[in-house]
Subunit: 130 residues, 2 copies
């Protein structure tokens, strides 16, 4: 079990928005959407995002500069992430595969080095766009 983090007001507002979204959200789109709730500046958004990423409640899709809620309930290791990204509709799905995460966590590079932290982004076409 890992420690439960109680979110602060800004963190909660921003997490709720991302969690309800069906697609990854970008920082300035988040900012626009929470301005009515009193969050007025980019930095307020980025600070909340940083914290949410740190505690594993959300993930950043690096190739898209966008944020998605973690839907991997067994994701103790928030730092080992994998996604599939549709190149047409931009749908992003978090992949939770025990086999994959086991393979990657055990992968050794040429120097015999292992990595518990990684980010993998697969690109292709989703069911609908195929």
């Amino acid at each position: 079990m890992h420690k439960e983090h109680s979110l602060t007001k800004n963190q909660q507002i921003i997490f709720d928005l991302i969690d309800k979204s069906t697609e990854p959200l970008k920082a300035y789109s988040i900012l626009f959407n929470v301005q009515k709730k009193g969050i007025k500046a980019p930095l307020q958004v980025y600070r909340a995002l940083d914290k949410l990423v740190e505690i594993g409640k959300i993930h950043k899709i690096e190739s898209r500069n966008a944020f998605i809620a973690c839907h991997n309930s067994s994701c103790q290791v928030a730092k080992a992430t994998a996604f599939s990204i549709c190149e047409i509709c931009e749908k992003v799905t978090e992949i939770s595969s025990a086999g994959l995460s086991k393979y990657l966590a055990n992968f050794k590079d040429k120097d015999g080095m292992k990595y518990s932290k990684y980010n993998l982004e697969f690109f292709g076409l989703c069911k609908k766009c195929r």
Copy 2:
């Protein structure tokens, strides 16, 4: 064999710079370094970078917004990339492992979908920083 691409002047200048570098280069750092060669605007850099990425001569390190020359001579599939990134010194190394690329190319998600295109970034500490 895949088609040989002869680089244009700007592409060659920018590729040479990245290829000689021991670390990933950022777009505006590249811009600064090639201004003496007549490349004055960001767009000239980004256009060359886009093309170089497209033809597989360089790769973008998404989590760092930086570019590195492809050192994987057998890398026919420029779109299937893996790197290790040192979280202290930021050293980036391209991983060329037949096993890894085979595993990832054959990986099937829950819908049975396979992906020939992916980007994997491992994070950890390099030899020196360990």
